[in-house]
């Protein structure tokens, strides 16, 4: 029983199988995801009621919140996959971690960009140093940069996988400490015009498009990860027979 499970697992996790599987799954995530985003964004921009405090400016939330959520999700995926790769010596897990990093960095950047565009009319400043969320997002971006730089600096893929996994795990602890310390820090700076904590609850008409966009972004993100995993697997397996066969077959049909 156990052996059969193990064999099944090995078959499922074999690179050619993952390559095919990821290719099959990706469009099923990306297409509905894009549709949801289109619908949610339309609803959010044109149908949701105007905020009585912020006017139309709040509508950036429909991009900002999903990307903030994914920026952290990507880090969790990266660190978890790295940990799995370290403990169970799974090469596939490392490929997942490597795929998640640039996506995470992109979403972190998007979060910071939309955040500061939103911050300008609301707080009167592009960047609010005393805001814990903004600061931890910035540190998160630096962590992504460090992670990718370390990966790029080590030539041997297996070594790069393991070293960057250690860094990602150390970074997880750091993210929490940053959040805590910046919260403590910002509590010292009284009188900042932060958004009211737990402020006015969102009305249903505002919330629904946000939920739709959250789901849409997550789907697209998932599909995108699968596409990147495909590329990673292909690159890592570039010297093996199945990749070579695939390339020659593709060349023959072209």
């Amino acid at each position: 029983m156990w052996k059969a499970l193990k064999r099944l697992f090995h078959k499922l996790a074999s690179p050619p199988h993952i390559y095919r599987l990821a290719g099959q799954i990706a469009p099923w995530l990306i297409v509905p995801g894009l549709a949801l985003i289109a619908w949610g964004t339309y609803q959010g921009l044109f149908r949701a009621p105007v905020d009585y405090q912020q006017g139309d400016a709040f509508r950036i939330i429909y991009i900002h919140v999903p990307s903030a959520y994914l920026s952290q999700m990507a880090y969790i995926i990266m660190a978890t996959a790295g940990g799995i790769g370290l403990i169970w010596r799974m090469k596939l897990a490392h490929a997942v971690a490597a795929s998640a990093a640039p996506l995470g960095a992109a979403f972190t950047f998007l979060t910071l960009a939309t955040g500061s565009i939103w911050g300008k009319p609301m707080w009167g400043t592009w960047f609010e140093w005393a805001d814990p969320r903004m600061m931890s997002e910035l540190v998160l971006l630096f962590l992504y940069f460090g992670y990718m730089a370390l990966r790029a600096a080590i030539d041997d893929t297996a070594k790069a996988d393991k070293a960057s996994a250690v860094l990602a795990l150390v970074g997880v602890v750091n993210v929490f400490i940053v959040k805590y310390s910046v919260e403590w820090w910002s509590s010292l700076h009284q009188g900042q015009t932060l958004l009211a904590e737990g402020g006015p609850k969102m009305s249903e008409g505002m919330l629904a498009p946000l939920l739709i966009n959250l789901l849409g972004f997550t789907l697209v993100f998932g599909g995108w990860i699968f596409r990147r995993i495909r590329t990673e697997v292909l690159f890592r397996e570039r010297r093996t027979g199945w990749v070579r066969r695939m390339i020659t077959e593709a060349g023959a049909t072209a």
């Binding site: 041997d156 893929t157 297996a158 010297r239």
Partner: protein
């Protein structure tokens, strides 16, 4: 009867290249294993993997019937490693260097004086290592083997930088080690003649 050190189906990749595949060997007390092969054949990698500096992709290593993986720390107490680099701090004297090593072990079979005498470096014992010639530094590094008194010696190219006398000294030391029931794995280009049982492993 099982051998003291047994390698079963060892496979090691470096990057894309397979250095050896399904390699097995066994070594008993009072035996020397000489790893032969041209440059880049994987001698050093095999030595490093036995020492635990690299991980085998497949296969397992057993010491006294127990898998080494189960208690790596225990296995590390069983061998002394002598690599390409001497592991000596150039600003410290041989005595200071070796005293640090032996503090980590807290057991010394022989006195420093005796070992220095044997290696012919008594006069150099209190000079900074950076003032010694490459061959003399190699001799200081060799002291480690005698001081540690572990059953297994892992020596990678021990003849580097040594003159003819020095090379003979290494062979004598290995012979004595085998005579007291020790094991030794050695990577070497040279043809080697040692008193005692010798096995050869050709890596290609």
């Amino acid at each position: 009867m099982t051998a003291k050190l047994e390698a079963r189906d060892l496979t090691l990749f470096r990057g894309e290249r397979c250095l050896f595949n399904q390699l097995s060997f066994a070594l008993n007390d009072a035996e020397l294993l000489v790893l032969e092969g041209s440059n880049g054949s994987g001698k050093t990698s095999l030595m490093r993997a036995i020492a635990g500096l690299l991980t085998f992709d497949e296969g397992s290593l057993h010491w006294a019937g127990q898998p080494v993986k189960r208690d790596r720390q225990y296995f590390r107490q069983q061998f002394t490693w002598l690599g390409h680099r001497t592991g000596l701090k150039h600003d410290l004297t041989p005595v200071e260097n070796l005293r640090f090593d032996s503090t980590l072990r807290a057991r010394n079979d022989r006195s420093f004086e005796e070992v220095f005498e044997r290696l012919g470096i008594t006069r150099l014992a209190t000079l900074p290592v950076r003032l010694l010639s490459a061959g003399q530094q190699r001799r200081v590094a060799l002291c480690r083997l005698l001081l540690a008194g572990t059953p297994l010696w892992l020596v990678d190219e021990p003849f580097t930088n040594l003159d003819r006398q020095g090379r003979q000294l290494v062979l004598d030391l290995v012979g004595e080690h085998l005579a007291t029931g020790g094991l030794c794995i050695m990577a070497a280009h040279h043809d080697i003649e040692v008193r005692g049982t010798m096995r050869r492993l050709q890596l290609s």
